[in-house]
């Protein structure tokens, strides 16, 4: 699996503010998330990758080229779906996407044909002749995806692509994005605050915090530390169970809908849960490894990074 992005000692400062602090990482092809709280450096990183701003120090390569020296060449091979509004006023959907194709160097006829193709692909075929300015938020997001795909890019950068979409539209768009990476060989870099989205779409994620890389790994690796977490149902005194659990070094984290979330130390796992139940005199009705969420993993990583 080749790298889409390679960065080495990447630093960007705005006056006294360090937006990126000597970060080094690789983003492999496929679908990769870009995660981090506000101010983590995600937007700055995207700007550097697109060649819109130069790093203060360090180097970066996108599809093997340096964005500082070959920005136009890189932009011919990438598509970008920005977070905010980004349409040309007064154009219909098909004119807008066709115009995007012309700007990417497609001949006029090809640009028009591709515009129809990608608008069909994103589900805007019936709205293609309407003025983009009159599109709903969901339609605008799809139009932005269409304009990013019209020139058949090798990599797609998406910045919060599901902002403002209803749950159904969100799922549909994410399925489409996932499909691009899985079935059509287009690598996807998805920047999102909605962690389940990244979890659903991406093979891994680059996690940034305060301009530093907190983690850059596959989803499985990111969630690894959560494997010693169990979802437990017991019959009997929960308080007694918690006391016994604490005595054995375990911890009861949350209680929801009758389920207990138990974190066990070391490799003892479910054995410790059963022993605590025996000590507390409660009956265990269910023990299963809790499905770790990316949010859990991210919180853990960020906590580790801050200490």
């Amino acid at each position: 699996m080749g790298s889409v992005v390679e960065a080495e000692g990447l630093t960007k400062t705005y006056g006294p503010v360090d937006a990126l602090r000597g970060v080094s990482f690789e983003i492999p092809s496929g679908a990769w998330g870009l995660l981090g709280p506000n101010g983590a450096g995600k937007t700055t990183l995207l700007r550097i990758l697109l060649g819109l701003t130069d790093p203060t120090r360090g180097s970066v390569r996108v599809l093997g080229d340096d964005p500082q020296r070959a920005a136009s060449s890189i932009r011919e091979r990438i598509g970008f779906v920005p977070e905010g509004d980004a349409h040309v006023p007064g154009l219909s959907g098909v004119q807008f996407v066709s115009f995007a194709g012309r700007l990417c160097g497609l001949p006029g006829d090809d640009a028009k044909q591709r515009a129809h193709t990608v608008l069909n692909f994103v589900g805007l075929e019936e709205e293609r002749y309407r003025d983009v300015a009159g599109y709903s938020k969901g339609m605008l997001q799809r139009a932005k995806l269409a304009q990013a795909l019209v020139h058949d890019p090798g990599v797609l950068f998406l910045d919060e692509p599901t902002n403002g979409l209803d749950p159904e539209g969100r799922q549909a768009l994410l399925a489409l994005i996932r499909g691009l990476a899985m079935d059509h060989g287009i690598s996807v870099v998805l920047a999102s605050h909605v962690l389940p989205e990244v979890e659903a779409v991406c093979d891994g994620a680059l996690v940034l915090d305060q301009g530093r890389v907190v983690a850059n790994a596959s989803m499985e690796a990111l969630k690894e530390r959560q494997q010693a977490t169990y979802r437990v149902r017991v019959r009997g005194s929960v308080d007694a169970f918690e006391t016994a659990l604490n005595t054995l070094g375990g911890q009861l984290e949350t209680t929801r809908e009758g389920s207990l979330r138990v974190v066990t130390p070391g490799d003892e796992g479910a054995v410790l849960v059963l022993k605590a139940a025996e000590d507390a005199g409660v009956q265990v009705r269910q023990v299963e490894p809790a499905r770790a969420s990316l949010e859990d993993a991210l919180v853990t990583r960020l906590e580790e990074a801050s200490t």
Binding site: A86, P89, F99, E125, Q147, D159, D183
Partner: protein
Amino acid sequence: MSPVHEHGYEPWEGERRPRWERVMAVALEGLSRGAASKWVWLVWAATAVHVAIRGGIVYFSGQVNPGVVEENASLGFTSTMLGDVLGLQAQWVLLILLVVVGTGTVARDKNAGALTFYFSKPISRTGYAVGKIASPFVFAMTVTFVPLFLVWVLGMAFTPEVLIPEGVYGLLWRLLAASVVVSLAASVVAVALSAVVRSANVAAASWVALALLSAAGGSMLARVSGNVRLEAVDVLGSFTLAGLDVLGASVPGDPTGWAWIVTVGWCVVGVGALAWVLWGEEVTG
């Protein structure tokens, strides 16, 4: 809105067009937008009427009473007469036309977040700026060079051969150069105004105010001081005077040098303002 379907994504394999065609695409987008405006057609209609009147004057002066042409050069087929056409077109028709096709260009893009769209594509900021100036420039040429050219053609057609002045074919090139000077300077200033404000309406109002107030100010200063050079304060007037200088039309007094300084100065300021906005704009959404 229909649901998202997997209609099948198709890769594109083809040869990309050269970079200059992308700049042309930006210009063509502006041209098609302008041509769709009824105001542009009204401006063109007014220009056509102006050309018809000038053609009529040449016709009646040359054909019915050729003696008048010889005695009164301002009615004849001369650079001064063509300069009159340019002056009227530049100071009134061009002023209105650029409200329609010039002052909204960058402001509209800023409002709609289109700068993000443009700058994430393989087009440079310089290419974007050139494309954005090119479309109002072409429209400006339709109300400067085109009427001048038509009057020149009518002059050639209606003026008796013996009265056609010497160097009339060279005059054609000077018409083109004069029109370029006026149209380019006015387009740069209009687009720069469009870039420094966020609203197309504010840009339009600023453009009209700049033209009218500077004209009134220049005229008043020249009258009060008795120094005709102070007329160069008039922005569009100065662009026109520079154009007339290229055309070889005679201008009373000697404000031409100052007019060139003002014209070049406004162009430099305009390009600087445009660069300041485009290179300073946050464009990642």
